[in-house]
């Protein structure tokens, strides 16, 4: 495949607030048609980066090009072509879903039957056609988020930027949104930039990922590249359900060749996390059975972004002379 055309490019992009760096020397390349993930904990500079790409915040240094346009100089032309779903998106509660979208259309210079057709089509796509004429007041959080997607899409953008699109949404809602993102990228050829702190979701839909830590991108590339480039060497992980004495189970699991880390899910002593090099499944099962422990669950978690992410995050934190965060919960909460 020939290298795809670069649609978003930043060169040494920086944003400072006083002496604090919100974004530090960012070099980013997003290609046409891909789903690009910005992954990082809250406050890592993801939203600031997005605001600079939209021309809503002025860079302190460096440059950005979106569709070949400089967002700082031609914000209107950029914003006309880029759909943005902000974090905590809101709507005018006293208006219906359709009226809210109609307002967005008017602001984009889309009027009349063209607008009505687009509104209907996108409301159907996000599954809100039945409630199109209900006041947004009555919408649930998940419905608002889907309406937000429709709102970003009614201007038929070339690029869709989503900021934490799945925050505080139930699992079904999350799946619906991620499926739609998948579909948009595959069928409609929309380039998607998705910012999130939720690893599994980024992992599910993104072709390439940039990991943000404290305003800096510490790693960028496809998931497999990131896993390979990580000196922790973690590639797979399993969820293992087994009953018995915690200490014994831990010892058994730890003795399996290739295992690099073990953990339990919260206070539950019955489900264990095991990560390690590939080909782990067989020796893992054999060791457990040899020790007289019969697992009632072995679930392949696939390539584990948690470990990749944590690995990068810990090394970045150590470099910065800070105490590494040992729990992912601390990072993502």
């Amino acid at each position: 495949m020939p290298p795809a055309e670069v649609i978003i490019r930043t060169a040494a992009l920086e944003k400072r607030y006083g002496t604090k760096h919100a974004v530090r020397r960012l070099d980013l390349e997003v290609r046409r048609g891909e789903v690009f993930g910005l992954l990082g904990p809250n406050g890592a500079g993801k939203t600031t980066t997005i605001l600079m790409l939209l021309g809503l915040a002025e860079p302190s240094g460096g440059s950005a090009r979106v569709l070949g346009l400089d967002p700082a100089r031609e914000p209107l032309r950029v914003k006309r072509r880029v759909g943005y779903l902000p974090d905590n998106v809101g709507f005018y509660g006293s208006l219906t879903a359709r009226e809210n979208l109609r307002y967005t259309c008017r602001l984009n210079g889309i009027e009349g039957p063209v607008a009505e057709e687009g509104i209907e089509r996108w409301l159907t796509r996000v599954g809100l056609a039945d409630v199109a004429d209900d006041r947004v007041d009555s919408f649930s959080r998940g419905m608002r988020q889907r309406l937000g997607l429709a709102d970003a899409l009614v201007k038929e953008p070339a690029i869709l930027i989503l900021d934490e699109p799945t925050a505080s949404i139930d699992p079904v809602g999350v799946r619906e949104i991620l499926d739609l993102v998948d579909e948009l990228s595959r069928d409609d050829g929309v380039t998607v930039l998705l910012a999130s702190h939720l690893l599994d979701q980024v992992q599910r839909v993104c072709d390439r990922i940039a990991i943000f830590v404290a305003g800096e991108v510490v790693a960028m590339g496809a998931l497999a590249e990131l896993a390979a480039g990580n000196d922790h060497g973690v590639t797979v992980s399993f969820e293992v359900g087994v009953d018995g004495d915690g200490a014994i189970i831990e010892a058994v699991l730890g003795s399996v060749p290739g295992v690099s880390s073990i953990g339990t899910v919260a206070a539950d002593q019955h489900i264990w996390w095991v990560s390690g090099s590939s080909g782990l499944a067989e020796p893992l099962l054999r060791s457990l059975l040899d020790a007289g422990l019969v697992p009632w669950l072995i679930k392949d978690r696939g390539m584990n972004l948690d470990d990749i992410y944590r690995g990068y995050f810990e090394s970045a934190a150590t470099e910065a002379g800070r105490e590494p965060l040992t729990s992912l919960a601390q990072v993502t909460s």
Binding site: V6, I7, R9, L56, G68, L76, R80, P86, N108, G109
Partner: protein, 340 residues
């Protein structure tokens, strides 16, 4: 980034699409103003304001028109009977309560109108989470505050226009006097200046709505500001003038008036006095005292143009005050981070 890079990013087809799309980007503030106006006119808030203004206006109108016949004879000597509809203090047998004149009522309720419409214009958008969505549309950021301001000023103009037309209509019908050109000019000017004055309070409320994240806080702060100026403005002017000149001397009166006119309420009512009363020949306290002492000055009525000249300085100040207040709100909004 080199020019060749730019060329690969924007092929010809894209460029054509780009130009066709760009042509359709509308003037953002107009779209926003249109939407805000539609929202406000159908909102419960406007209805309440309309009812309050309408009822108060109607009440005073009934009292005024029941007394206007008694005073018509004496009023005709000093000023137009039609203007008396607006400026007369109703003194009726219906009630012993002291009712304000129509201009006093409008001057009192006007600021509240501006505050009621402005206190949540920006922070409301912010707390609903619609601001970040709005500014990510192809509009400039100032389109948001401009569009909102224009829409609210239009609502104010509509509400005040309703009251003025109601008074004029009932006046013509009840007392059977048709306003002459001079009356129409005076009432029209008073109406426009009142919109500017209410625009001042709207700007102050908008400024508060930029600064305070909670609409309730913004409303309380502006109301407090208005109350302090209304009830203590003159007292503060007295005290300050006392530092600048010995109390009671001619210079003291001059200072006192100068400082007092920095209070928007005083400024506005001074203008109203000059515009709505043709007998007023100067707004300068010292000057008017001299006029009264001078036996040669015959009491005459000024034509509208002369009345406007009498208050010209004050009118300029009022307009400047409104512009400065809006400019402050504008700058504050432009400098603010979009992110909550």
């Amino acid at each position: 980034m080199s020019a060749t890079d730019m060329a690969t990013i924007a092929p010809a087809a894209e460029a054509r699409y780009r130009d066709s799309v760009d042509e359709r980007i509308p003037r953002g503030w107009r779209v926003i103003a249109g939407k805000e106006l539609a929202d406000l006119l159908t909102s419960a808030r406007s209805l309440v304001l309309l009812v309050v203004l309408g009822l108060a206006g109607a009440g005073i109108l009934v009292s005024v028109s029941s007394t206007i016949r008694d005073v018509a004879s004496q009023a005709s000597g000093s000023q137009g009977v039609f203007l008396a509809l607006f400026t007369l203090n109703p003194n009726t047998s219906l009630t012993t309560a002291q009712l304000p004149s129509m201009v006093a009522l409008v001057g009192f309720i006007g600021p509240l109108l501006g505050i009621a419409l402005g206190f949540d214009s920006i922070n409301g958008e912010r707390s609903e989470g619609t601001l970040s969505r709005l500014v990510s549309q192809p509009i400039y950021r100032d389109d948001v505050i401009n569009g909102k301001f224009v829409a609210r000023l239009a609502v104010i103009a509509i509400l005040l226009g309703f009251v003025v037309l109601m008074v004029c209509g009932v006046g013509i019908w009840r007392i059977g006097v048709v306003p002459d050109t001079d009356d129409v000019l005076r009432i029209g000017t008073w109406y426009l200046l009142t919109v500017v004055y209410v625009g001042f309070w709207l700007s102050v409320a908008t400024l508060a709505s930029v600064f305070f994240r909670r609409a309730a806080t913004a409303a309380l702060v502006v109301l407090a500001f208005w109350l302090v100026l209304t009830f203590f403005g003159s007292m503060i002017a007295d005290l300050l003038a006392g530092y600048l000149a010995p109390s009671g001397e001619l210079a003291w009166y001059g200072w006192r008036q100068g400082i007092d006119q920095l209070v928007p309420q005083t400024l506005y009512f001074d203008i109203v006095t000059a515009i709505m009363d043709p007998a007023v020949r100067t707004l300068d306290v010292v000057g008017s005292a001299m006029l009264q002492l001078d036996q040669r000055a015959l009491p005459t009525l000024l034509p509208f143009g002369q009345s406007a000249l009498v208050a010209w300085g004050q009118i300029t100040m009022l307009a400047a005050g409104t512009i400065v207040a809006f400019a402050l709100a504008y700058v504050a909004f432009m400098r603010q981070e979009i992110r909550a």
